[in-house]
Symmetry: C2
Subunit: 476 residues, 2 copies
């Protein structure tokens, strides 16, 4: 007999969390979760292990059923053989969800382990709780203070992320934090025994906290249901999917990773394209696209760029990378060049497109230059690049002061006025500590001003093409 | 009447350097050069500007001819109109080389400015000195303590770099320093009025200090002579060229940048291919290829990779990126998998290729795993990846200790023994300060151990394909 399924809304708002299988090994997952829950000040945390009476200042319980308070969510890092007995305790305790970090089930390719998974699912159905995973990193829900890692930002945001990979689920919030991305829920679902990509897609489609749906998917079990869920999701919100396992080696890895039988890449791509889903090829590109969707107020319909910044070689490279990825950098008209000549120096400058002038780090030149470009009819967006040129080399102190960057931003805003031109920032991360410090300070100010920041010209161009194509298809 | 040309060997070893047109503006190029020469402890530095008697603690001369000691090299940052008069002083003073940072000559597209350039060249020929540029950043010769920027490593090394872009010339030594690259001479030659890409190629071909020739070229004036120089260079040493201006926008930028009429990209590519020159598409790729050439002891002839590291999602991504770029990741044979099972845990592991096991950061597991792979016949190289997985997340302190990384390196070496398998390291740079600190420490230890480090799987694969193809063509 099946109980009614617990809703994901309840799963994502647990009152108490038990961590089963904690040890004294600080490299172990369970203790890492315990520690990060403490740091996030989750209100009711219960370590479980019969070998200890206290762990990290918390009372440790021998068994889940010994815990006095309500436990809604259980994080599990015990051997697979002990899973069924633990699930009986979960039923007794009346938990809502059980997240298995434990691996060695279906993905191992061993028949008995796959059968064990099915027995676990049966226990979940009769016990009235949900299973997340197994073989995954579980949940990060900032609003509920439910974390599975350190150092990720605790402010909730509009991005929902479902990931078949635990690594990607842990990495995305941290890696994109400095670019200004914040998350509603991040769910790593591993072998997808119970909670799967379809249910999560449906959830994010209706979740009011989520405006952008991002996904890392290795394989789907039910292509037709998946396509239907995708159609509804994409009609409601932008959906971006990074599909892992595109080559033979990637597919082999995906099968060993989450037991995924990756469907034909061509079919997957075609299904996504038909539903106007944005397909990307890696985690960095996923971040780039979300940044564009999150911070561009009005997505342009055209692909004509004016590139502004200092440095000859970098401008040539930028021009090449832009056009290779599909953006256009039209030459400036003679009239436009004349207007630029009136406000910018000629020596050492290229008053064409890309517009390269040595004083493009001064607020006055930026305001004047962007003031002219704001009125150029055939320009859809302006890319300002910083940190590709010696004179703006990170770590030299030129941009170490927040005020200096804020002056640049203010000059840009004043220059653009009410023209509605899209403004994008490109800056290359340095490889030194002093450089990184200055780079992060500058990036922080741009991001606080809700400007989209990209780390390479080619990446910027690729992301913008995807977003503009998506936007134009949606308008049709 | 033309004097005999000064040799580049003399140009690259000046006894005294004058910097003409210094000002009190610390953002200005001349003062930056002055400051960096001081920091590099160049023995005889002479600022020149009639407005000052002292600059930065150095006696400032009103005119070049006022300087008492020998001046071999002159760095110029004065207005273009003043160039001819200065060159008369250069002839009087008997200098060997004059580097014009000053721009606004041929590249401006103005007829008079192009004519001025030709008059300058004539003065150089009759005066018996060389001109570098104009419109460039000039020379970085660590052995001579001749610098044009701060913070680049002062140990000489085997890489020679000729660059039509000053920005790229300044960036390359600093950007590649942490990856272990050191330079013999870095020459930014801008408009190539006198010293051009052909002369520099010929110089690096015979220069005993240079083992690898790298070039950034926007356009060549004499295709036939260039092709001949390329043939000789490539027969002697590996030559890697990044050609700027591949698209319409890039070509337009290159023309405005250094007055280059970029030849047809297809012709350029064909000429390079025929001479077995390694062509790359950007500065990062240039670094990747040099790193591979510099640190791989025996370049493999095959492209079969075993990928080793932790993290399911990252392994899938790595597999995809490897194969998309042309490397192969063959599945491990049943026998090989059995041997791995004897030394590595099954749970949470994928004992296939990519080999993904959670304890792949422990020296014991690394030594055991690589020990098995060392004897796998169909594996040409082993890629160890670090910093793509939560448990090796930078900034958590797991790899903060140099000793820990050294233990990993030692374990790798012991595991590989005398198998001769190529070992490559892949680690993703983080975006936080604490992370960057830990990342740089780990990278430093790998580089000290002369291991090639790459920052993305796709980048590693692309560079390795280029180097293996080059190597196999050379062997034919």
């Amino acid at each position: 007999m099946e109980s009614q399924k617990i809703s994901l809304d309840d799963v994502f708002a647990p009152r108490g969390v038990a961590v089963v299988g904690v040890s004294a090994n600080r490299m172990a997952f369970a203790e890492m979760v315990l520690h990060s829950l403490q740091q996030a000040e989750f209100p009711a945390i219960y370590p479980v292990n019969p070998k200890y009476t206290e762990i990290m200042g918390l009372r440790c319980y021998a068994r889940l059923t010994d815990i006095p308070g309500p436990v809604d969510h259980v994080v599990v890092n015990i051997r697979a053989e002990l899973a069924l007995q633990l699930l009986d305790d979960c039923a007794t305790k009346g938990v809502r969800s059980v997240h298995f970090f434990t691996a060695g089930f279906g993905e191992s390719g061993i028949k008995e382990n796959a059968e064990l998974e099915q027995a676990m699912l049966k226990k979940a159905r009769t016990g009235g709780f949900r299973i997340i995973g197994p073989n995954c990193i579980g949940l990060f829900v900032p609003r509920a203070r439910l974390v599975n890692d350190f150092g990720n930002p605790m402010e909730p945001g509009p991005v929902g992320f479902l990931s078949q990979s635990g690594g990607h689920a842990q990495n995305l919030p941290g890696f994109s934090a400095n670019r200004g991305l914040r998350f509603s829920k991040v769910v790593s679902y591993g072998n997808a025994l119970d909670m799967d990509e379809i249910e999560l897609l449906e959830y994010f489609t209706r979740d009011e906290e989520t405006n952008v749906i991002a996904a890392y998917i290795e394989g789907v079990r039910d292509g037709h249901r998946f396509a239907a869920a995708l159609k509804k999701a994409s009609a409601a919100k932008p959906v971006i999917i990074y599909k892992g396992g595109r080559t033979e080696a990637g597919m082999r890895a995906a099968h060993g990773h989450t037991a995924s039988m990756t469907s034909s890449v061509d079919v997957f791509d075609a299904v996504c394209k038909q539903r106007n889903v944005i397909l990307v090829r890696g985690m960095e590109e996923l971040i780039d696209v979300i940044v564009a969707l999150r911070f561009i107020k009005t997505i342009p319909t055209g692909k004509q760029v004016a590139l502004v910044g200092a440095g000859g070689g970098p401008s040539v490279l930028a021009g090449d990378e832009m056009e290779q990825e599909g953006l256009k950098m039209p030459p400036f008209s003679a009239a436009l060049q004349d207007r630029l000549k009136q406000v910018l120096p000629v020596a050492g400058s290229i008053l064409s497109n890309p517009l390269d002038t040595p004083n493009m780090a001064s607020p006055e030149a930026i305001q004047a230059g962007l003031g002219v470009l704001a009125n150029a009819a055939d320009i859809d967006m302006i890319v300002y690049h910083l940190g590709f040129h010696p004179i703006s080399k990170w770590g030299m102190g030129f941009f170490a002061a927040r005020e200096r960057i804020q002056q640049i931003v203010d000059a840009m805003r004043t220059g653009l006025g009410s023209s509605g031109k899209t403004l994008l920032i490109a800056m290359r991360p340095p490889q030194t500590l002093a450089g990184m410090q200055e780079f992060l300070t500058a990036q922080e100010v741009f991001v606080e001003n809700e400007l989209p920041v990209f780390h390479a010209m080619g990446d910027l161009a690729r992301a913008m093409c995807r977003v503009i194509d998506w936007h134009n298809t949606r308008r049709m």
